[in-house]
Amino acid sequence: MNRAFGKHITATALIAVAFWTAACGGSTPTPSANTDKGPIQVWTMEDSTSFTALMQDFTRQTGIPVQVEAVPWSNVNDKLTTAVASGNGPDLMQVGLSLLPSFESAGALLDLSPYVKDHPGLQSSSYVGAVAADKINPSGKVLSVPWVSDVRVLFYRTDILNAAGISSPPTTWTQFHDDAAKLAQRGKGKYGYYIPQWDSALPVEFTWEAGGNLMQNGKVTFDTPQFKAAADFYISFYKDKLVPTASDFDQTQGFISGSAPMIISGPYLAAGIKSTAPQLDGKWNVAVLPKDQAGTSLFAGSNMGVWAKSKHVGASLRLLDYLAQTNAQLNWFKSTNELPTAKAALADSTLTSDPMVKIYTNQLQDAQLLPLVPKWDKISQAMLDSLNSIVLKGSDEATTLASLNATVASLQS
């Protein structure tokens, strides 16, 4: 309670001081592809064990030692700010797709376009279409390279749906809503579906499914009939009491207990269910998202980028090449359940033979990135706050959405 104010002012001041000093230093390192023996430092997200294990093989092949540091998702912005302000960063870092605009506008990533022709791992044609070079980079540059992918699909409890007389998962919005209504009738504390209140991607997915697009002339807009349809669909689950209103509802627990038998989430949820509730095996499955005009899902995941001031660009590029190889991508999937981004790995029989993974890879073909604009975090939070104030506080829909449009316009002016 008593540390806050002084801390903010001090931190702001330190950052300001640091950036004056940082501005004076810095030089451009010259990469020397095969002579560079590192060591290189890598920042990965959340957990370093799996990545360290993967790196043993890389070091054996190339003789380049790799130091891995894990950065929790909740700290990544602080970490980036201090690295940018001080000029001290790693050589290679994992960048979540939603954070890409921040990293790019911070000038944290090195433009790799001069090296593309010598490095197969940098070539856009190796990766799935949603993360093609022109979709993830400002024009003419290559600031990051796809690494892992993540896609939202529908998770459902086969046992509970069957018991409610639903023989197959919903494929249209109407079926989705009707099935949720049937499931919610099971009694008190039972719902049809669960909407995470922190999830700003969900209304965007609904907009895509309604046939819409958020970007118009390089700016984000919610002033479209398709977003209105998405908002109405979102609100309808609350209005008909088909979803829990508690913001601390636990998604995994809710799915396991059967309280929320339908959930839209990524493959990481599958890993969570398998490890915490192995007894549910065979009682749940995944399906591609229900369609309105389209069945477009969210393409999430992470890229890898070279730190702008790295002194081991050559070694980092070799690591990027290594990570793009089918073997490395498949090993990574085996240890973390995170999907590959390389086409060759996605087409490998170890993945295509698993029916659940087949659903993921099918959905990957119809998945889009969130808008990669620097203000997206603020814009999407405003959108989510508006929808949640309608469903949780009973604010008027028309006026709330009108003021959202005004806010979003002023944020981008």
Partner: protein
């Protein structure tokens, strides 16, 4: 230190004493007559230097930054930083979330400060009735929240409050009361968060009050007892008036703490649901360290600083008036 008069005693002085005197004379020469007024300043200078560097300078830097568009790209490339006048302040006053954060802070202060000051005073007076082992254990019990890590507090209270599997709702269900949305209903969440902060803040205030209570001479109570005063009369005629300074001190510090309210909403609700528990400090934190808008966040912190400074000055004035 004036040079000592030369007397016969000089002959008796040891060599070291002579050195002392010489040193004293040198000091006396350099600072002929002000030395006695300078010493205190020399002594407080390390603390003062820290204060100037980390508080006063920071405020000036923040004030300067608040007039710029400094964000993460400006951090990387200072040519991107521009002077934009009062634009940050205009944008902030036009932001409904800012007013909501200000309103929430006012709510937290109104609920938290009186409860904490009156509650802590009452508990301290009750604890002071006895010095038995049981009461000493109680004192420790009340102080534990103050020294418990905020992360542990958030984990425990988060689980107590949880609407799916929380202990509080389970206890309520035993007596047939419907579950309460402790942290997820916009109004109840405010109170739940404030309750944790009151629980956590009470330990320190109780200790301060206890110290003040123990400084009251027992003769006053004995004299009052001889005059036939009851327990309530003793509390309201002797204890409370003699604790005036302690009460004032606790009120000022508690008020400042609550205007900077941050930890509990940050760890329990992250300011949600829908901004319902976003305090001013949390608003500043989100603008600065989530959206990387350092200029905007600095503007907001200057506004909060001005409010706290104004409230504190008013309190100090009020006390001067009372004391005459």
């Amino acid at each position: 230190m004036p040079a000592p008069a030369r007397t016969n005693r000089e002959a008796l002085m040891t060599a070291s004493a002579a050195q002392h005197e010489a040193a004293a004379r040198r000091v006396a020469l350099r600072v002929p007559w002000r030395s006695s007024t300078l010493v205190p300043y020399v002594l407080i200078s390390p603390a003062l230097l820290c204060l100037l560097t980390f508080s006063v300078l920071s405020i000036f830097v923040a004030a300067a930054v608040s007039l710029t568009n400094l964000d993460i790209s400006g951090l990387a490339d200072y040519t991107q930083v521009h002077f934009i006048g009062l634009h940050n302040y205009q944008a902030m006053f036009g932001d409904p979330a800012f007013w909501e954060a200000l309103g929430n802070t006012a709510f937290f202060v109104t609920v938290g400060v009186p409860t904490l000051v009156i509650g802590s005073l009452a508990i301290a007076i009750a604890l002071n009735f006895s010095r038995s082992r049981f009461f000493r254990a109680l004192k420790a019990f009340y102080f534990v929240p103050a020294i418990t890590a905020i992360v542990a507090i958030s984990l425990i209270w988060g689980n107590l409050y949880n609407s799916q599997f929380g202990l509080l709702n389970w206890l309520l269900s035993l007596v047939g009361i419907a579950p309460v949305q402790w942290l997820t209903d916009p109004t109840i969440a405010k109170l739940s968060v404030a309750l944790v902060a009151i629980w956590r803040g009470s330990g320190l205030d109780i200790i301060i009050f206890l110290a003040a209570l123990q400084a009251i001479p027992p003769e006053y109570y004995e004299a009052a007892a001889v005059d036939g005063a009851g327990e309530w009369q003793k509390i309201f005629r002797i204890t409370v008036p003699l604790m005036r300074f302690a009460i004032f001190f606790v009120t000022v510090t508690t008020l400042i703490n609550w205007m900077q309210f941050f930890d509990e909403p940050y760890v329990l609700t992250q300011g949600g649901p829908v901004h319902a528990t976003t305090s001013m400090s949390l608003y500043i934190y989100q603008q600065g360290f989530r959206y990387n808008e350092f200029g905007f966040a600095s503007a907001a912190s200057i506004v909060l600083f001005a409010i706290i400074a104004a409230v504190t000055v008013i309190q100090l004035r009020a006390r001067q008036d009372v004391d005459g």
